[in-house]
Structures are given as structure tokens and as C-alpha cells.
């Protein structure tokens, strides 16, 4: 276990050490102390190392994560796990706006609530939120699943492409071109699988399924003059 104290050293020093890790590294387990809301902690990890951050983090924590496991034992600021490629990012508290924005893969778990625009422009990442999400979540989502155990605020899934949304509570309103869809057995299994990976105890059968009506983004030759 490597302990890295941000009260004694900089975020830049931490990230440089993490970036130098190779596939053969034995420095696999890390604990980061005194984050105190600092930005860009553990950004750009490319190896399957495990990092626990003891406290609240600022913006863009675990951004671009590939293969790493990052656990925030606190709340996270704007842009948690932005552009995550793979691996796991878990926040034990709440996450601010734009969590998992444009993520391409991997899993982001927020045990508390996520704020506005959670999963904005998601491109393949899976997101599981134990609490509720703010307005315009999954905005322009292209791929991946957003699973919300609580409620979703207004304009859920606005301008959605092919990301899929599952809500355990209620959605205040759906955004443009987002519609409720049938919750198939396959969907129940998909949600159950994600809840299991996220270590969340929730009944997958009670979730509702939302997706794109595909009226907004599909190109129709008949409407060519309207574009």
C-alpha cells in the first residue's frame, strides 16, 4: 500500500507517479490522503491499479481513466471520471454536475446523488447512481446505460441517441425525443447485472426503461430540405 498525502505533496507529483507506472508495476494499491477538494486527482491512469481517495475531491477526478479502479471516500466535484475509457470509478458520497461526461467505457458508480447533466454525451460508459440525478441527465447520450435507483429531474435524456436509461423512482419529465420503452427481460437482466457490479441492492424489475424515439437524430431523405 502506497500512501500519498496531498497535504505534503502536489496533485501533479501524484499524477506523474501514476503516469509512470508500467504493466509490470508492483505499486498496485494506493491511498491518497487530504484531497481537500483539489482538482484533477488521479487523472489519466492507464494501468489496473487501485486507488482510494480519503476525502472530498474537486473537478475532473479520475478523468480519462483506463483500467484503474478509483474509489472516492467522499463527495466529488464537477466532471468526475470525464471521458473514462475503462475500469471503475466509485464515489461513496455525491457527485457534482457532468459526472462521467463523454465516457467511452468502464463503470462509474455514485452511491449518493449525482447532480445535473450526469452522463452528458456518454459514449459507452455504464453509470449506476444509488440516489437521484439532476436535470438533463444523459443529454445527447450515444451509448451505454445510465441506471438511477432514485429519481431523475427534468428533461431526462434530452436529444438522446442510443444510450439507454433505467430509473427506479420517477422521472420529473423527459427531454426532447426521449420516450419510455418496454422493460424487457433482457433489460431486467442488464440492469441486474449492472447493479450487481455496482454492489447496489435494488430490485431490477421495478426500473422503468427510457430511450430515444429516434425522431430527432435520424436522417430522413424526405426531410432533406429541413436540415
Amino acid at each position: 500500500m502506497i500512501e500519498f498525502d496531498l497535504a505534503r505533496s502536489s496533485v501533479r507529483a501524484l499524477n506523474e507517479r501514476l503516469h509512470r507506472l508500467t504493466p509490470q508495476t508492483t505499486e498496485v494499491y494506493w491511498r491518497v490522503l487530504n484531497p481537500n477538494g483539489a482538482h484533477a486527482i488521479a487523472v489519466g491512469i492507464t494501468e489496473p491499479v487501485q486507488i482510494e481517495i480519503k476525502g472530498h475531491v474537486g473537478y475532473y477526478c479520475a478523468g480519462m481513466n483506463a483500467a484503474g479502479t478509483v474509489v472516492v471516500d467522499g463527495h466529488a466535484g464537477t466532471g468526475l471520471a470525464e471521458n473514462i475509457m475503462s475500469g471503475l470509478v466509485r464515489v461513496r458520497g455525491n457527485a457534482s454536475q457532468s459526472a462521467a461526461a463523454s465516457g467511452r467505457g468502464g463503470l462509474v458508480v455514485i452511491e449518493g446523488d449525482a447532480s445535473t447533466r450526469c452522463g452528458i454525451s456518454m459514449k459507452g460508459v455504464d453509470i449506476v447512481v444509488g440516489g437521484s440525478v439532476g436535470h438533463m441527465s444523459a443529454f445527447m447520450g450515444q451509448k451505454g446505460a445510465l441506471v438511477v435507483c432514485g429519481d431523475a429531474d427534468h428533461d431526462l435524456g434530452d436529444s438522446l441517441y442510443e444510450a439507454e436509461i433505467f430509473v427506479g423512482g420517477t422521472a420529473a419529465s423527459l427531454g426532447a425525443d426521449c420516450i419510455e420503452k418496454e422493460m424487457t427481460q433482457g433489460d431486467v437482466e442488464r440492469v441486474a447485472g449492472l447493479l450487481d457490479r455496482a454492489c447496489m441492492a435494488a430490485d431490477a424489475t421495478r426500473f422503468r426503461h427510457y430511450g430515444s424515439a429516434r425522431h430527432l437524430y435520424n436522417f430522413h431523405i424526405d426531410h432533406a430540405t429541413e436540415y
Binding site: N36, G37, G58, H75, T78
Partner: protein, 299 residues
């Protein structure tokens, strides 16, 4: 960008803890607003029949003692005047209108940054640590305070265009964002008798609240009507004689974090400013919802 901080002690008299804590919070927000820094402090109230005013002079060499001599011939000073470079805090035994008329007659070189029973407003171009040192923030006490670090977008980088803006009795406002309909709202408010010192968008928001409060609205009601009347992006933090309020616009893209303990409420653009406060680790921490007024009154 821009950074906002606010600290509000829920009870008790003015405490010397306020100044150093606010300075620490502001210091964390320097990267968000390197153009200018300002803060408003709420101290113990002026004696009955008197009011407190913060004046701004064009330069640090201004002869405050001469002004004090002139003022002494017209008004009483229930508390000693205090001078901080180009700022002065005066407690005067007079009505505000008498003093404003006196100032209009002979001292138009002076600006009024804040007035009321308790408020003091300090602002200047520069980074927070330098501005805090300049106005001796570390040795200032109070019950609550707001601070701002500015990255200018809508108007010039000058002391007068810095936040906080105070347009009415003990009211001040700091703002992260930009308003798009401020010219039209300023025109309407001028017709209602609200005075503006600059072309700044945030000053319009402060003037708007002054106007609504003068109509008899509560601070919460005034902010709720602002949601319909002010167009643009904003996180506002507002201070009054005994109160403190936060409002974000409907889109809420301008960040804000609130924290509360049994003793205090703190607001900041980023958590790292709150992390400097004693007890922050055990505070309840949340993000204010869009288009929702949060307010506190001192007990």
C-alpha cells in the same frame, strides 16, 4: 469563471474568526478570478441614530484626515473613523440622505461602496491574498461575510467594477456568471429611482433586489421574482443585515457548493474553499438545486 465565497455564523456577536476564515476561502478562489477581489463584512451594528458607510477614494494618497475635519463640522462621529488605503469606513450620526447630499455638494470624487447599519465593502483589482492584506482582512471581525474573485467578462477591470455590489441598505450581492438583459433592466430600475454607479451587469441584479425589498418583499420573494426578470447565467450570493441567500439560475451551469454545521453556513464556487474551514470535514455538504432559493436568518 469568477469565484464566490460566503460565510455566515448562525448566532452570536461579531467574531474575530470571520476575517481570517474569509481570507483563507478567498485565497483558494484566486485562480478562478485573478482580475479583482472584493468582500463585504457585516460587523456589530452602528449605534442608534447613526449609520455606517464605506467610501472609496481615487487613490491611496487621498487626504482622509482633511475629509474627517470637514465632516466633523457637519456630523457627529459616534465611532472612530477607520482608514484602509483608498477605503474609509465612517460611522456618522446623520441620516443617509443628509450625508449623500453633503457628498454630492463637495466630494463627487468619492464613491460609496456600501452603507447601512452593519455592512462594510472592500474591493480592488488584484489577487485575493494581496487585496486581503491591503485591507487587513485577517484582523477584521463580523457575523457574516461574502467574497468574490473576478474574471471580467461584461465590463472593465477596475475597482468600481469589482464585486460585491451594494445598492441598498446593508444589501450586497456577488455573482458568478453574466446577465444578458441588464441594460433594459437598468433602464427600468433607474425610472424607479435606483441609482447605479457603473455599467456592470451584476450591479443591476443588486439594484433589482434593492427595488424589490423596498416594495416590501422578503429576500426569498425578491430572489424568486428575479428568476423571471433576470436573464442570463448566474449563481448569486446575497448578504443582508441579518441574512444570507443563494440562488442559481434554471440551467445551473455556474457551480456552487453549500456546507452547513451547527455553527455556520458556508457557500463557495468550489469545495476547496470550504475545506479550509474548521469543522468542514463533518459538515453537511450539498449542491444547491437550480432555480431554488436557499436562505438563512441570524437567530
Amino acid at each position: 469563471m469568477c469565484g464566490i465565497v460566503g460565510l455566515f455564523f448562525k448566532r452570536g456577536a461579531a467574531t474575530p474568526a470571520l476575517g481570517p476564515l474569509l481570507a483563507g476561502m478567498l485565497s483558494q478562489m484566486g485562480e478562478r478570478g485573478p482580475d479583482s477581489t472584493g468582500f463585504a463584512l457585516y460587523g456589530d451594528p452602528a449605534p442608534a441614530g447613526a449609520f455606517r458607510v464605506t467610501l472609496h477614494a481615487p487613490d491611496d494618497q487621498y487626504d482622509w484626515r482633511a475629509l474627517e475635519g470637514e465632516l466633523g463640522a457637519a456630523f457627529s462621529f459616534p465611532e472612530p473613523a477607520r482608514y484602509y488605503c483608498n477605503h474609509a469606513v465612517l460611522t456618522l450620526g446623520a441620516s443617509q440622505q443628509e450625508f449623500f447630499d453633503w457628498l454630492d455638494d463637495g466630494h463627487r470624487e468619492l464613491g460609496i461602496f456600501g452603507f447601512g447599519e452593519r455592512i462594510e465593502v472592500f474591493k480592488d483589482v488584484g489577487l485575493p491574498d494581496a487585496v486581503a492584506r491591503r485591507f487587513d482582512l485577517a484582523h477584521r471581525s463580523g457575523t457574516h461575510a461574502l467574497g468574490h474573485t473576478r474574471m471580467a467578462t461584461e465590463s472593465a477591470v477596475t475597482t468600481e467594477h469589482s464585486h460585491p455590489f451594494s445598492t441598498g441598505l446593508d444589501l450586497c450581492l456577488v455573482h458568478n456568471g453574466s446577465l444578458s438583459n441588464h441594460n433594459r433592466v437598468r433602464q427600468s430600475l433607474r425610472r424607479e429611482g435606483i441609482r447605479f454607479a457603473t455599467d456592470n451587469d451584476t450591479e443591476v441584479a443588486a439594484g433589482y433586489l434593492t427595488w424589490r425589498l423596498a416594495q416590501g418583499m422578503s429576500l426569498t420573494q425578491a430572489l424568486e421574482t428575479a428568476l423571471a426578470d433576470l436573464d442570463g447565467f448566474y449563481t448569486f450570493a446575497v448578504g443582508t443585515r441579518d441574512g444570507f441567500a443563494i440562488l442559481r439560475d434554471q440551467i445551473a451551469c455556474k457551480p456552487a457548493v453549500l456546507a452547513e454545521t451547527g455553527d455556520w453556513v458556508a457557500m463557495a464556487t468550489e469545495y476547496r474553499a470550504i475545506a479550509t474551514l474548521p469543522g468542514a470535514a463533518g459538515a453537511e455538504i450539498w449542491e444547491p438545486r437550480p432555480a431554488t432559493v436557499y436562505s438563512w436568518q441570524r437567530q
